[in-house]
């Protein structure tokens, strides 16, 4: 008896065993097959992309050899290592440093100073960013 006939009929014990094992095996096999296939594809994809990106990095290695120094609006960074904090709490400095690091890559930039930005037109920088984000056309 095929599975569709079993579904339509009242189930005997044998039918119950049959449909149970069929569903278990099919479900197990299909779910694992699809997800294993995805694993293989993602691994291959990851390798292809990293190889391609490594190649492009090599091509632009000369440019990357020179670390970019990002100077923010700090008026006078006192020393090379110490960040001018402008009264900003250490946690905020850590967050900004992490964001800069994440954007430009580890060790490629040096934060010379951090300064609170003034508000323009009655709005803070965050407020302005919000307005721009919400009014940006499709």
């Amino acid at each position: 008896m095929d599975i569709k006939s079993i579904l339509a009929a009242t189930l005997s014990f044998g039918d119950k065993v049959s449909i149970s094992l069929t569903t278990l095996l099919t479900g197990f096999a299909v779910v694992f097959s699809v997800l294993i296939l995805l694993i293989v594809i993602i691994i291959i994809l990851g390798k292809v992309i990293s190889t391609a990106q490594n190649k492009s990095k090599k091509n632009s290695s000369e440019v990357e050899k020179k670390p970019v120094t990002v100077k923010t609006q700090s008026p006078k960074p006192t020393t090379a290592k110490k960040i001018t904090s402008d009264g900003i709490p250490e946690e905020i400095i850590a967050v900004i440093a992490a964001a800069v690091d994440s954007t430009y890559g580890t060790g490629k930039v040096r934060i010379a100073g951090i300064k609170k930005s003034r508000s323009y037109g009655g709005r803070s920088a965050w407020g302005q960013a919000g307005v721009m984000n919400n009014t940006r056309p499709f």
Binding site: L7, K16, G27, V31, V34, L35, L38, I41, G46
Partner: protein, 415 residues
């Protein structure tokens, strides 16, 4: 005297149509259950986003069953209708039906509010829309960085099929058993989607069971996780995941959609919308739409879905032996899902010489991100410096894809 009689008639009519007279004891029990769920949502904050509207929908439908009432058509004899209506000035003209030579106006009676909102559940619209929002909120980075996590997402689905067998032998029909088994996927929208396709009559108990167990993940999973792992295994620190490029994150949803939709068309609505949401997020070119999917759309659909699914739990339908069986089977499904996830993670740990912490396996049962948080929390009990969260997010999001694939298998096989 007439005024007093009219007054008494009015009050009597109101009392007779009130809930005190019209609702049964089953409704009162369900009202009590809805209060418990409201307490869990508000007092304990267990999945409040879904549990609160769900409990309130349950409360509403048991107080006023008509709120889920389907529309009907009343045949009013033409002569009687014309006594109270002037059809020449009436803006709406109703169809006239002739039965045995007598003419009747087909006057529609509209359904209850929740009946109309429920159509999104019935037609399988809300669950994929919820998946769109989930996709727009999900970072598949940990899964792409460690694709082996997919195995754990698949292993945790075994509970679905084992529970299917249990349900069959407990006397449920095949389609009903499939819908009950999917509770083990620990994914509310998937459970609702499958149930509407296979056994719409069981939607109330299955949805309530699925969301209740999802809310109870922090209570259900830890004992199973501890039972099958040693302290040494739980203390394993996993290596930091590799960074994932933006290009990989963009290609991932496209690849998954193409593959799953080709192999399992029945899973396409869920996986397709999940991946569309994710592509909107990762591409970075449609920020506004992605944010709408994450916030406004997701919130609106959650309100509609939660309230109307709760409203399917009418006393007379819900308070049956079958519901208790479903609740028990759902728990079994959930426990087996967790168990197999952890066992496969243990196997993986043996194969990679102790690089995988078996605790991340339990996160394979979807329930994003609660299940991953449980892995993190249980891991930190034995090793406070252990951070498993990002490692557990891999199997966790793989579980979402896995349960959608399992749903596709069940619909295709049993539907």
């Amino acid at each position: 005297m007439e005024i007093i009689n009219g007054f008494f008639e009015g009050v009597t009519g109101l009392l007779q149509s009130s809930g005190f007279v019209s609702i049964s004891w089953q409704n009162y029990v369900m009202i009590g259950i809805s209060f418990v769920l409201l307490y869990l949502a508000i007092g304990k904050e267990y999945e409040p986003l879904i549990l609160l509207p769900l409990a309130f929908g349950m409360l509403l439908v048991n107080l006023c069953p008509g709120i889920m009432g389907a529309p009907t058509t009343e045949f009013v004899p033409e002569a009687e209708y014309l006594k109270t209506h002037d059809v020449t000035t009436q803006s709406v003209q109703y169809a006239v039906t002739v039965i045995d030579g007598q003419r009747f106006y087909s006057v529609p009676e509209y359904g209850g509010l929740l009946y109309y909102l429920y159509q999104g559940v019935k037609m399988g619209i809300y669950p994929p829309l919820i998946f769109l929002g989930i996709g727009a909120m999900t970072d598949f980075g940990p899964l792409i960085a460690n694709p082996k996590s997919f195995i754990l997402g698949a292993a945790a689905q075994i509970g679905i099929f084992i529970t299917f067998i249990g349900a069959i032998f407990l006397g449920f029909k095949s389609k009903e058993a499939g819908a009950i088994g999917i509770i083990g996927g620990a994914d509310g929208p998937t459970a609702i989607f499958v149930t509407t396709k296979l056994a719409p009559d069981l939607l109330g108990p299955i949805a309530v069971a699925a969301y209740s167990y999802m809310a109870l993940v922090p209570i259900i999973q830890p004992p199973i996780m501890k039972l099958v792992t040693t302290k040494k295994e739980r203390m394993i620190k996993m290596e930091q995941l590799r960074p994932v490029s933006k290009l990989e994150k963009i290609i991932f949803p496209i690849v998954v959609t193409v593959l799953v939709a080709l192999l399992l068309p029945d899973a396409a609505p869920l996986v397709g919308m999940l991946m569309l949401g994710n592509l909107m997020k990762e591409s970075g070119v449609v920020d506004r739409i992605a944010k709408t999917a994450q916030n406004e759309l997701m919130n609106i659909v959650t309100i509609f879905l939660g309230t109307t699914v709760g409203a399917t739990a009418k006393g007379a339908v819900f308070l049956q032996l079958g519901t208790i069986k479903i609740i028990v089977l759902g728990l079994i499904a959930f426990c087996f899902g967790t168990l197999f996830g952890v066992l496969f993670a243990k196997l993986m740990s043996v194969l990679d010489h102790g690089k995988t912490n078996p605790l991340i396996g339990s996160a394979g049962v979807s329930a994003v991100p609660m299940a991953a948080r449980v892995s993190q929390k249980v891991g930190q009990l034995d090793n406070p410096t252990n951070y498993l969260l990002m490692h557990a997010m891999g199997p966790n999001v793989a579980g979402v894809i896995g349960s959608a694939v399992a749903a596709g298998v069940l619909i295709s096989l049993l539907g």
